[in-house]
Amino acid sequence: MSLFYFVALLSIFFALMVIFAKNPVHSVLYLIITFFTFTIHYILLNAQFLAVVNFIVYMGAILVLFLHVLMYMNLNNEGSEMKSMLMKVSGLIAGMCLLVTLVGSMKTLAVSDPVNLQDADLGLVKNLGKVLFSEFLLPFEVSSILLLSAMVGAVLLAKKEPKSI
């Protein structure tokens, strides 16, 4: 119980640090720690498969690529140029809209108890696989088609470059 609140506090703290860090590389490193706290949340919910997949895909692959790209760009110089006032105001409005939408949608959901599990074994690999390939087969296949199309799109974008090294 108290462990959940402690980890939740850590998640929020590091998520805030992602925004407030001046250096973009530091931001990504804080984001890595944030994802790590998510992994802990999944383990607390006994969703071992989800936890380890989150660990591999987000921490091990996506954020390595983020860091990789950031290291290519020389963003090391301190004091990046100030954004214009218009950008700041529009960013603020967009962020507030997102917040309102999120809070509104959360309120309509029945609030579940994050600490007590309804079905403790649901997150284990065997059960997850069975559920994915029977009850949720269609959404599963549709999302994989979505990923495939995204991949094809990425390849197409990369191909537009002239073919010289």
Partner: protein, 344 residues
């Protein structure tokens, strides 16, 4: 949680940790001895008989050397880099089953630190985290060569993780479980070893293991001829030691994983036909597992002193254009064989 359980796990973790460090320590000596043998030299033989104290001398030297942190570097991340490298190297061994059960009277000790039901994926995750130590260290050094090494390490790890994962998927289709303990139990005897079912998968896994541990022919991140020292150019003293040591620990852990996944783990031929008691089978099994691990460590070194380093574009071509298609073909082939077998 009773006290006996805590003590048992604590002792087990300590033993595994000490063994890991010990093996890694003597791997450094073995590497130089094997290099000497392959190049027709003697190798280190001054410290103690056959140079057996050489790792201690090296370690002491590392500790006493002057430690330099570049002024323009990011101090915290500069220290975090090698710490992360050695941490991720060490935690991989937690899920490896070192042996079967040992029975003392009526107290049974399981020779595995923890049997989580996503064991393989855990190791895969730890391996994929290993690159952060190199990347953070290389970036924090504020040196162009270090940065180049870090970027190379990142792209190499990402590229070779994919065929590694695909080869594991083919293995999982055969075993039907993610738990390393169950995989070991399935391979009892000699004909049940996974290598007979997944030879291609093993080959892909082996090549990827070389790439993930940054061993020659894939040691592009620290390629001396192009990058001075790669990601550890700016490192000195024990921080450099940690980076080098992490490589040997990684080698040990990946050897253990390969032995467990493909070569039967602690199983050895005729293990139940010799009429031995259960404890003896366990003890011989542990010894056999270590024999397999040492063979793989030797193989790592053998390859290092035989094959020259790849060029960077060759490395990428091998990863993306050879290994990934091969791994996918392996999955399809495995699927067809399993389906046909079910139909018959």
């Amino acid at each position: 949680m009773e006290l006996a359980f805590v003590i048992e796990k604590f002792v087990l973790i300590t033993v595994v940790f000490v063994l890991t460090l010990l093996v890694a320590m003597y791997s450094t000596l073995a590497e130089r001895k094997i290099a000497g043998f392959l190049q027709d030299r003697v190798g280190p033989n001054r410290a103690g008989p056959f140079g057996i104290l050489q790792p201690l001398a090296d370690g002491a030297k590392m500790f006493f050397k002057e430690e330099i942190i570049p002024t323009e570097s990011n101090r915290f991340l500069f220290i975090a880099g090698p710490s992360l490298a050695i941490l991720t190297a060490c935690i991989g061994s937690a899920v490896i089953p070192w042996g079967q059960k040992l029975t003392f009277g009526d107290y049974v000790v399981d020779l595995q630190v923890t049997d989580i039901n996503v064991g393989i994926l855990y190791i895969f995750g730890v391996v994929s985290l290993g690159v952060y130590g190199v990347m953070i260290g290389g970036w924090a050094s504020n040196n162009k060569f270090s940065l180049m090494g870090a970027i190379r390490a990142a792209s190499q790890n990402i590229s070779y993780e994919i065929p590694m994962g695909l080869s594991i998927i083919a293995l999982l289709m055969v075993t039907g479980t993610l738990s390393l303990k169950e995989i070991s139990e399935q391979q009892s005897g000699f004909v049940n070893w996974n290598i007979w079912y997944q030879p291609l998968g093993f080959l892909i896994f082996l090549i990827c293991a070389f790439a993930e541990t940054n061993r020659t022919p894939f040691d592009l991140p620290e390629c001396e001829t192009e990058l001075v020292g790669g990601y550890h150019t700016e490192y000195s003293s024990m921080k450099l030691g940690f980076y080098l040591f992490a490589e040997y620990i990684n080698m040990f852990v990946s050897s253990a994983v390969m032995a467990t996944l493909y070569f039967g783990g602690y199983n050895f031929p005729f293990m139940y036909d010799l009429g031995l008691s259960e404890n003896w089978i366990t003890i011989i099994g542990v010894i056999m597992l270590f024999a397999k691990i040492f063979f793989f460590i030797f193989f790592f070194m053998w390859v290092r002193w035989t094959i020259p380093r790849f060029r960077y574009d060759q490395l990428m071509n091998l990863g993306w254009k050879v290994l990934i298609p091969l791994a996918i073909a392996n999955i399809v082939l495995t699927g067809i064989v399993i389906t046909v077998k079910d139909l018959l």
